[in-house]
């Protein structure tokens, strides 16, 4: 294994500037959408008094969860001392910070009063898991920021392992908190389960690594830096394990619900599309499970595709789409299913849609705000690798593989 050289990218090419302009256009569209939604009020969105969290939250929670997962690569290097992951660690921290920033941007811009962000930062109700999450998000920026600094600064490098350990613990707490936002909602049958927290952690592993791989392959491809198969295949196999683990958690989640009679209605809604839930069950089976889990698994493990970057990149994109679908079924599906306020009673009349399934359709501004968050994350990564040396000059097998033997 040769010495690793971290170096900024040039970032002067037309392609690079075009990429920034592309992401910038989406960020501007997101800001425009926010102005439109805040000026008119949220009635212009698809959200209402039944589905109070819509498409912006699907994107925001996905990015926040993925942020924590993107840090995994660095954790494997610092906490579990795997040498092959060491050169990959700085990009992992940058991506984690960028994804969290994008996710929080969406979350804040969708608030009813985004101008009161300072209130959210200064007034805390410590019984609220949401308030704890604000502390966890802010802490993540500080701890991962320090971790990145220790890795990039030669004089501080000796402390990077400790910072990495702190970041590892913190990111587990952060995803536990994010999952618990839903797990702690006792009144809704789709939530109210402690398993939400560990399920979100394993989801973060999968989504974060898929995005990491996409960014890594794109960055090395577009800058013509060598990226060897040893690194890529190691990450590919790890990704396969994570995707399978997410599937396992989804199965256990639904089996648990299926065992409890009180949740049979929700499961029939989500899995069979009964009671007006066909939109959600279709997204669950065809996008989350088939397109977002089973097909990528086949693409990752199929014989003969080991070194095919295009197959891997496609699998990663499908995992991201599947992840967004999973967030959609959890966040939107969980709210669209009517709450049981009057057990044993059928609602004949209500002006407030009691007992009725809500069919939510995201409006264009909501989707643009969500895409703007992703664009913001990618723009930060693109700028980050230009300003600081997050990327090794080469990740060719002879450089990156600690067990490399010249053939």
């Amino acid at each position: 294994m040769k010495k690793i050289h971290l170096q900024e990218i040039d970032g002067n090419s037309m392609g690079y500037l075009g990429l920034l302009a592309f992401f910038g256009a989406f960020v501007l569209a997101a800001l425009g959408s926010t102005y439109y939604m805040e000026h008119n009020g949220h009635w212009v969105t698809g959200m209402n008094n039944q589905v109070v969290w819509g498409m912006p939250h699907v994107f925001a929670v996905f990015l926040i969860v993925a942020a924590s997962g993107a840090l995994n690569v660095a954790s494997i290097s610092s906490v579990f001392n795997q040498k092959i992951y060491k050169p990959l660690a700085p990009l992992s921290t940058l991506l984690a910070l960028a994804l969290l920033l994008g996710g929080l941007m969406i979350l804040v811009l969708d608030l009813g009063r985004p101008d009161r962000l300072i209130v959210a930062m200064t007034k805390y109700n410590f019984k609220s898991i949401f308030a704890w999450n604000m502390i966890l998000y802010n802490g993540f920026f500080v701890i991962v920021g320090v971790y990145a600094w220790f890795m990039l600064d030669r004089t501080m490098k000796k402390y990077s392992r400790y910072a990495g350990f702190a970041a590892f613990i913190w990111r587990l707490a952060l995803t536990t908190g994010t999952g618990s936002i839903f797990g702690f909602l006792v009144a809704r049958p789709g939530y109210d389960m402690a398993m939400m927290a560990p399920m979100f952690i394993i989801m973060s592993f999968s989504f974060g690594l898929a995005i990491y791989l996409l960014v890594l392959m794109a960055a090395y491809n577009w800058t013509n830096r060598p990226l060897g198969d040893v690194v890529v295949n190691r990450l590919r196999k790890l990704l396969g394990v994570f995707v399978a683990a997410v599937l396992y958690f989804v199965i256990v989640y639904h089996l648990t619900n299926l065992y409890a009679t009180e949740h049979h209605g929700f499961e029939a809604f989500m899995l069979l599309g009964e009671n007006g839930g066909s939109k959600y069950s279709n997204i669950f089976w065809f996008v989350q499970i088939l397109l977002g889990s089973l097909i990528p698994l086949a693409m990752i493990y199929a014989p003969g595709v080991a070194n095919c970057r295009k197959t891997l990149a496609t699998a990663c994109v499908l995992i991201v789409i599947g992840g967004l679908a999973q967030m959609y079924t959890i966040i939107i599906g969980g709210q669209a299913f009517p709450m049981e306020i009057f057990p044993g009673m059928e609602v004949l009349e209500s002006t407030f849609a009691d007992g009725a399934t809500t069919i939510y359709s995201a409006s264009l501004p909501e989707i643009l705000l969500g895409l703007g968050g992703i664009a913001m994350s990618m723009m930060v990564v693109a700028l980050g690798i230009k300003v600081l040396g997050f990327l090794p000059q080469s990740l060719a097998d002879e450089v990156a593989d600690p067990h490399y033997k010249a053939k």
């Binding site: 805040e38 008119n40 009020g41 949220h42 009635w43 209402n48 008094n49 039944q50 109070v52 969290w53 608030l111 009813g112 009063r113 985004p114 009161r116 962000l117 209130v119 959210a120 007034k123 805390y124 109700n125 019984k127 609220s128 898991i129 949401f130 308030a131 604000m134 936002i181 702690f184 909602l185 006792v186 009144a187 809704r188 709210q335 709450m339 049981e340 306020i341 009057f342 057990p343 044993g344 009673m345 059928e346 609602v347 004949l348 009349e349 209500s350 002006t351 407030f352 849609a353 009691d354 809500t358």
Partner: protein, 247 residues
């Protein structure tokens, strides 16, 4: 003789002083009930009372929306003809028992829980419960995250999806914040009853009783003791301030 007179006067003085002192000490306790009924504006709310409501669904008339109209009028709530996003502090619900076929009509609003999930989850503390049990939203620190709406088991809260016009000065509201039934706190603090209860009585249904759940002599407590009352989603152990009869 003169000395005796002086002694007598001294005794009278001591007795009278003691009486006045005792009266000053005991009076607040004796009159506490009345103080709670009509609280002066400068006096803090106490937990000596807990405001609640009892709804007899057998008296609630199907098709009657007097309580809803009164609430909207009282609190300046206007419809934009968009039911999915309009604010509804109180609504009428018609139910059918799936076993017996019995039809029930009832008004549904914030249940003013003793342990409100909306207060637990609010990140800033804007959702809060007063000492007297009334659950409110502080519109000044509500950031509009809607987590309370996710947490409320009764779908009792609405988000102000549109610009609010013609507000009442005693019921401040604003676009981008969450709102719900205040139990007409502005009336209660002046010794009155909520507008919905008043309207139900005016319509001669008398299906709603408002009062102090902690006062055994109040109408609501007597009625609850005599005929009982049910909490919606009692399994959640939230100890609601609003109770129902006939479901």
């Amino acid at each position: 003789m003169i000395e005796k007179t002086i002694n007598f006067s001294r005794r009278v003085f001591v007795e009278k002083t003691a009486t006045v002192a005792a009266a000053v000490t005991i009076a607040p306790g004796v009159f506490l009930h009345q103080v709670a009924q009509a609280k002066p504006a400068d006096q803090a709310v106490t937990s000596a009372v807990r405001w609640g409501m009892l709804i007899d669904t057998n008296k609630c008339a199907t098709g009657c929306t007097a309580c809803v109209s009164a609430c909207n009028e009282e609190n300046g709530i206007q419809s934009h003809d968009r039911p999915a996003t309009d604010q509804q502090w109180i609504r009428k619900v018609k139910l059918r028992d799936t076993q017996t076929g019995h039809i029930t009509s009832l008004p549904m609003m914030c249940q003013h829980c003793e342990k409100p999930p909306c207060v637990d989850v609010c990140p800033t503390g804007a959702s809060m419960k007063r000492e007297d049990g009334i659950v409110l939203v502080d519109k000044h620190i509500c950031i509009g995250c809607r987590y309370c709406m996710m947490a409320c088991p009764y779908k009792a809260r609405s988000f102000a999806h549109e610009t609010v016009t013609d507000q009442k000065d005693y019921a401040p509201r604003g676009k981008g914040t969450v709102e719900a039934c205040t139990l007409c706190v502005h009336r209660v603090d002046e010794g009155g009853t909520p507008a919905c209860v008043e309207a139900c009585n005016a319509a001669e249904h008398g299906a709603m009783i408002f009062g102090d759940l902690k006062d055994p002599e109040s109408n609501i407590s007597k009625e609850l003791e005599k005929h009982g009352g049910t909490q919606l989603r009692a399994d959640l152990r939230l100890n609601t301030g609003v109770r129902y009869q006939g479901i």
